[in-house]
């Protein structure tokens, strides 16, 4: 069985579980929306300030919400010891990492759409100008976040781990994604999308590094 097929089976299984449990829409989306509203209220009614801070608030809300998605992704594996089944299955363990990352990434894409619409409405931000750059930044950031989260999310199933291990590991490592994403989005919203190529390049590099690292080392995190 090819790696691609194994990845597809893992991702399809995770998405099916997600659709059944409605965790993303029932928990993560309301959480992210609440964060955005709270950030907006804390900044105050100044329209210009809201528009200037919108990219940062958007990416912060996304980052915090994604941690919940990573946690949930492995929660289903730990409920009845299913992760041991994946460990003992005669498959490439990189498929587990890539499959879970793909499933989380698809959920985050849905979350992005909802949050972008919310930001546009709440902060009176126009997404029309360099929308392609915004979309590229969001997609590249999603891949990076999904890779980091799926790589370290497995540690939550370790008997010695605590729930806090994911945010403690993922949030600092995701700083380059946050920084690049905010910069690229800010430039795009200011109509300066052509200057965002460097930041998009950094996102690409981050994605390549963590997808490669996850593919190579995930098995060692999964094995005893």
């Amino acid at each position: 069985m090819t790696l691609v097929r194994q990845v597809g089976m893992i991702a399809a299984k995770d998405l099916r579980i997600e659709v059944r449990g409605r965790h993303a829409f029932g928990t993560i989306l309301p959480f992210a929306a609440t964060l955005l509203v709270a950030f907006g209220l804390s900044i105050g009614p100044g329209r210009t300030l809201l528009q200037q801070t919108a990219p940062g608030l958007l990416w912060l809300a996304m980052l915090f919400a994604s941690v919940l998605a990573f946690r949930r992704s492995y929660e289903s594996e730990g409920e009845d010891g299913a992760l041991e089944g994946l460990l003992l299955a005669p498959i490439d363990k990189a498929a587990v990492f890539l499959g879970k990352a793909a499933a989380v990434a698809l959920q985050l894409v849905v979350l992005w759409v909802a949050l972008l619409l919310l930001v546009a409405a709440l902060f009176d931000v126009s997404l029309g100008g360099d929308a392609g750059v915004v979309v590229a930044a969001c997609l590249l950031g999603t891949i990076g976040l999904a890779a980091v989260g799926s790589l370290f999310g497995v540690l939550t199933e370790s008997p010695r781990a605590r729930e806090a291990v994911v945010p403690l590991l993922v949030l600092p490592l995701a700083v380059p994604v946050l920084l690049s994403g905010v910069k690229a989005t800010s430039l795009a919203l200011a109509g300066l999308g052509s200057q965002a190529s460097g930041w998009l390049g950094l996102l690409v590099a981050f994605d390549v590094v963590f997808l490669s690292a996850g593919t190579l080392v995930f098995e060692h995190l999964l094995e005893d």
Binding site: Q6, R20, S76, E79, D80, G81, A82, A89, E223
Partner: protein, 239 residues
């Protein structure tokens, strides 16, 4: 294809004659497994010939589950070495996993999938025949509940699905860790049927159970206590 095995016979921990390495389904040499500072297996030497049904008995904490987890490659030995089905535990994990099935304490099911969806997923993932899923569910008496979510299953029903999963493939080594726990008589019969069918086609079975009424198909009984293999504490009065 099994790797070339050493020609010398491996020593058995028991008084049985040594088994040629190529005929051993399990061959452990001074295997120790430690969790933190707590030893769960202590210098275990074990030989199980291919085709044998081995019953493992012992009190809670004796090391039975750890032994089966090591044989399934879910756990690595802290010290010692061994081979399963001719493949070394440290370098032959993939080959061992292709040929081994473990039914353990956890049923390894996804709560938000149905019993049928769980089995289909595992069948596809392990390369088993997808078409056997329905028959496997019928064998364990879960045909009517096959499309219900596992979240609503009782522990006995979950264990039945785990047994059904083991019937999807035809492993060369079947490892059962307390498979009768929480099962009614009908489901226990299904487990016995699985053991009998596996043994009948010449595969090896290692069965750990507390249930004194089960394990009749076993050709040999191994007793464990405090992580070690010990002599029969009953003096052979009962199995």
């Amino acid at each position: 294809m099994a790797p070339s095995s050493p020609s010398n016979a491996l020593l058995s921990a028991t008084n049985d004659p040594p088994i040629p390495a190529e005929n051993a389904a399990v061959s452990l040499s001074r295997v120790t497994r430690v969790f933190g500072v707590t030893p769960a297996l202590v210098r275990v030497d074990l030989e199980v010939p291919r085709g044998e049904v081995l019953l493992v008995r012992g009190p809670n904490g004796a090391g039975k589950s750890t032994l089966l987890a090591v044989l399934a490659t879910a756990l690595s030995p802290t010290y010692g070495s061994g081979a399963v089905l001719g493949f070394p535990l440290d370098r032959g994990r993939d080959e061992i996993r292709r040929r081994t099935e473990l039914i353990g304490h956890a049923t390894r099911l996804y709560e938000d999938l149905s019993g049928r969806e769980n089995l289909r997923f595992w069948a596809r993932l392990t390369g088993a025949d997808d078409a056997r899923v329905d028959a496997a569910l019928e064998i364990v008496g879960l045909g009517a509940a096959a499309d219900d979510r596992v979240r609503g299953y009782s522990q006995g029903m979950r264990q039945r699905v785990a047994v059904a999963r083991a019937t999807l493939r035809e492993p060369d080594l079947l490892l059962l860790d307390e498979p009768y726990a929480g099962l009614d008589d009908e489901a226990k019969e299904a487990v016995d049927g699985l053991v009998a069918r596996t043994a009948a086609r010449g595969a090896t079975v290692v069965l750990a159970t507390h249930d004194p009424t089960r394990g009749g198909a076993a050709g040999r009984t191994l007793y464990m206590d405090a992580g070690r293999i010990v002599p029969d504490p009953t003096g052979g009065v009962r199995r």
